[in-house]
């Protein structure tokens, strides 16, 4: 199997996701980057699942379900932040500063 290629693709996707999470200011884009990270993990799971049995694919399904819930909650939070602050810039959200 071409598991290496899958892993490489997954690693690339993961890095793009991490870059997005750390660098983008826009909350929505950060959420999208998190999706990218999760999907790179899914890719990994399915790639190994193809080698070792169906477990990985089942796990990937779980991840998808959890990711959907996470996006639901995340977008709701972003909406509320927008209503309160008229912006979704993450830099401006530093109420928890010590």
């Amino acid at each position: 199997m071409l598991v290496n290629q899958f892993l490489l693709l997954s690693a690339v996707l993961f890095c793009i996701g991490v870059y997005g999470v750390l660098v983008r200011r826009n909350g929505v884009l950060v959420l999208m980057s998190i999706e990218l990270i999760l999907n790179s993990v899914n890719l990994n799971l399915i790639a190994f699942g193809g080698q070792h049995g169906v477990d990985g694919s089942v796990f990937a399904l779980f991840v998808i379900a959890v990711a959907a819930a996470e996006v639901g909650v995340g977008l709701a939070i972003v909406m509320l932040i927008y209503r309160n602050k008229a912006s979704v810039e993450l830099d401006e959200l530093d109420e928890l500063k010590g």
Binding site: V18, V30, D91, D94, E95, L96
Partner: protein, 749 residues
Amino acid sequence: MVDKVWLLPAIMFLSFLAILFLGKRSPGKGHAIGIAAVGLCTVLALVTAGEWVARETGHEAATALDDVPAECSASAAELSDGSHGGEGDHGDDAGEGEHALAPGGAVSIADGESAAPAAEEGETEHYTRPVVRCATWWSSGQTDITVGTQVDGLVVMMLMVVTIISLLVHIFSTDYVHGDRRYTHYFAFLSLFTASMLFFVMSQSTIQMIVGWELVGVCSFALIGHWWEDKPNSDAALKAFLTNRVGDIGLLVGMITLFFASGKTFSIMDINIKAAEGQISQTALTVAAVALIAAVMSKSGQFILHTWLPDAMAGPTPVSALIHAATMVVAGIYMVARLYPVFFEGLSIAGGSFNLLAIVGSVTAVFGALLGFVQKDIKKVLAYSTISQLGFMVAALGVGAWTAAVFHLFTHAFFKACLFLGAGSLSHACHHSFNMVDDMGGLRKVMPRTFWTYVIAAASLSGIFPLAGFWSKDEILAGTGGINDGVGNYYIVLAALLIGAFCTAGYMTRSVWYAFYGEYRGHHEPHESGPRITVPLIILATLAVVAGFANLPAKIFVELPSWLSLRFEHFVEPVGAYFPGKEAGFTHAEFNPLLALISLVVALSAAAIVWSFYLGKFPSLVGLASRNRFARTGKRILENKYYLDWLYTDVIVGFVKGPLARATYWVNQRVIDATVDGVGMGAAKAGDFVYNRIDQGVVDGAVNGAGALASGSGGGLSRMQTGKVQQYGVLLFAGTAILTGILVAVLTA
């Protein structure tokens, strides 16, 4: 019924739900459901007790643990498989035992008649046959977390005490809290409280024990703060809860230690068998026992963590009765009794004269009793009395007098409940005041029923022959081995407990004097309470008289027939692999007429001295505190409760609050300055502030160092808190990357 005791907490829990959701619309606004449920439970508990008595008619060691399924206790299964080949159905045996009760009794008569030391020998022929049932709650890895019931004499006794006291408290409450704003809510929590305690006492695993322990704590919190509109009441509830949390840390540490030390099992039966057979290292047992003692100290109001108990008097009086007699505070005693092999081996109780449990208990017995002398509030007198009596029980467990401790728990439940309900009746009559010095007096003519029950219970508590308290207290004193042969030779404990007994009789006489004699000092016309209050009092007073006969000694000058003597010990004390045996040095102290006489004289003389003091026979003592500097200091220390509350709130909390709050403020100032005005300005401000602190440091020297340390570390760490989530993200990913690098390096190396 012995294998279905789970019905009791289940019924009480259902009653809690029913009252909570349907109570307001049900007859009696909820008390009908509560009383019906607890009444049913009392009947079931009595049936269980009957079955247990029928069952306890002599078993061989080999078959003793047959009713303990392997999934509930691997060690018990090993023991019973090792000695015989599992003889099939033993249900028949129990049935036979029931019919053969009389012959069974005859057998034990034969045992008893062989001279007193030999009676010990005879007793060992009989083994307790506990009934354990469990179900797997969940599994984690190799470990099954089970929940279930473990029934033996101790549990049956507790079930009876809890349900009987709870039933009487329910009935009493229908009059006492009549017309209260949260009447329904009150009965719902009484049900839950009872359910929690029943759940706790029948625990099969330590996890279940912890859950029950915490449930009891939560219920007591809710009931102490029943009238939370007044700040002191909600403060008292919080104090009770938080003080208990301190001890709960000990409980968790102890239970976790036991879990690992006993080869990863939560089963109480397993832990006890392994501890008793020496399969757990002495060190682990000692650590576990010491940690668990911390839990006992907070739950059972032992000295230095007892301060919540007097404050808990803020709750309704029937709740105090329930807390002090049957639930909550006896949970600590019960826990030690249940896990006794751990304490027995861990603290090397056998043959010793000095261990933590005995010290904690005897210190509490004396210091608690002394505090009873300076209280004006009749409930607080009783609260300190409870603390002192719990000290007696802990000390008894500490010297190896297991049966004496449990027996004292049994008798104490009745007379202390009677005293508390009597105090409730008094306050009911005196317009809801508990101040016996200013608002009571001369009530014996107005309230004859309350008077007589109170006096009987007080005499029982003071240990007057032949009331219940005399027998149990005497058994504890004998058990110290100070005069006769006990498990060890605890002379100091004996001396401390005699002082405690002296003070007990003294402060109880004082409370009787203030409440019932002299002139009436209140402002409202007092009246006798109604039958729903006096009938429970009369029942409890009767029990306070007769409960002591449950465990008459085998020999009081003449040999007593064995159907009469030591019945409590025979049915309640476990004999078998899961309890310290004779080979471990566990013995029973015998009744000692000399000691009994001493304790009786001590109690009577204390009562006589206090009585003559109030009659004015010692004019030289009147006003002693205002003339003698030494006496004044003593009185001031007692009135301030040894300054423990001051130590906790002002010194410890104040130390945390004052310097730490100042330090936090300082950190805030500095961080804001650093970000806004730049480092230079910040440094200048900080320097300024440091100057201020040095100025203050001269004033409160020792505090300064700790404050600076806390603020320094806080300042360093809080600079990392920028509030920018992506910065946290960078740190997170950088850390992960570094750790991954290390992992790879290690794995490939």
